[in-house]
């Protein structure tokens, strides 16, 4: 069976590992923090969201690049 497509997508899957772990760690820390000190939730959420977006951007940039970079012979 012939498979067509671009290896960019495999790279994209690999690139998702890092941000996935990062985002998981951020929200794990957020949940722990709220469980220990529920009144700090508002402040912690702001920090968590900032960290989430900063970690997520690498995957997003990779996603954009996976579509933008095309092999020259296609």
């Amino acid at each position: 069976m012939e498979t067509i497509g671009t290896l960019n997508m495999v790279g994209l899957g690999l690139a998702a590992i890092g941000p996935g772990i990062g985002v998981g760690l951020i929200f794990a820390a957020f949940v722990t923090g709220v469980a220990r000190q529920p009144e700090a939730e508002g402040k912690l959420r702001q920090i968590a969201i900032l960290g989430f977006v900063l970690a997520e951007q690498f995957f997003i940039i990779g996603l954009a690049l996976a579509f933008v970079l095309k092999a020259s012979n296609t």
Binding site: Q46, I49, L50, F52, V53, L54, Q57, I60, I61, L63, A64, F67, V68, K70
Partner: protein
């Protein structure tokens, strides 16, 4: 292959969305493109909406005024006062508030039917507002500390040994002065670009699988793809808001760092 050739021309093969989908032709053959019109429209929309919200200026706010005050309070208290501090945040509130609304409205264009094009997926628009943010935070720092005082404040971390400074100063200069507008730009641009591309990908792919391919299995996959396109649109609502929030948040953090006192 561009969107137009798929929508109006004959179907020649599976759609392959790419950056060329973002190269919209000028309206009626002119040099004016859709994003330009949308940016102008966003300014008109924001001004009209907030003028009508602020005009009654009632002590007991009506429904519209309450909504406006909610957004204003979010930026003023949640972003500006939290980060810059209650002493001198008020000068920056108008700038941060317009920044937030401008980015938010231009992002939400990506989901409004008929318009459906996030302006910020063209890199020139986020770049120009990032340059504006760069000018503001550097200007605020220079106004407070003087040119060389500000440079020293941004590039020389306090409490460091002398021998490490030649290594540290260029790094700090690079990260605090040069790279900040670039990362602001790339973050907003890439998110909007990739999000819009995903919506294009799943809706076009679903359409092709449902209508233009024969095997029954493909129809199932096509239906799944359409459902996924809708789900991704909902995710995009969150992401669009978050990007506007983070853009404003980071700008206010940069401002607060630029005008912070030595400690």
């Amino acid at each position: 292959m561009t969107l137009a050739s798929i929508a109006f021309g004959a179907v020649t093969g599976p759609p392959s969305p790419g950056p060329s989908d973002f190269d919209l032709p000028g309206i009626a053959g002119s040099a004016v493109t859709k994003p330009m019109v949308l940016v102008a429209l966003s300014v008109v929309l924001i001004v009209a909406l907030f003028y009508s919200m602020a005009r009654p200026a009632a002590v007991v706010p009506g429904r519209l005024q309450f909504a406006g005050e909610l957004v204003y309070g979010f930026v003023r208290n949640g972003i500006a006062r939290e980060n810059i501090g209650s002493h001198d945040f008020q000068k920056f509130v108008p700038f941060l508030f317009s920044l937030f609304l401008f980015v938010l409205v231009n992002n939400f264009y990506g989901l409004i039917p008929v318009i459906q094009f996030p302006t910020m997926s063209h890199i020139g628009y986020p770049l120009s507002i990032a340059v504006l943010a760069w000018l503001v935070y550097n200007g605020a720092g220079i106004a407070k500390k003087g040119f060389f005082g500000y440079l020293k404040h941004e590039t020389v971390p306090p409490g460091m040994d002398k021998w490490i400074l030649p290594l540290l100063v260029p790094l700090e200069f690079l990260s605090n002065i040069i790279l900040r507008p670039i990362t602001l730009t790339l973050r907003l641009f890439a998110t909007m670009f990739a999000g819009h591309l995903l919506v294009i990908l799943f809706s076009l792919g679903g359409e092709y699988l449902l209508l233009h391919s024969d095997p029954v299995l493909n129809k199932v996959a096509g239906g799944f793809s359409v459902v996924l396109a809708i789900a991704i649109s909902f995710l995009e609502i969150l992401v669009m808001f978050l990007q506007a929030y983070v853009f404003t948040l980071l700008t206010s953090m940069y401002i607060s760092e630029a005008i912070a006192d030595e400690h």
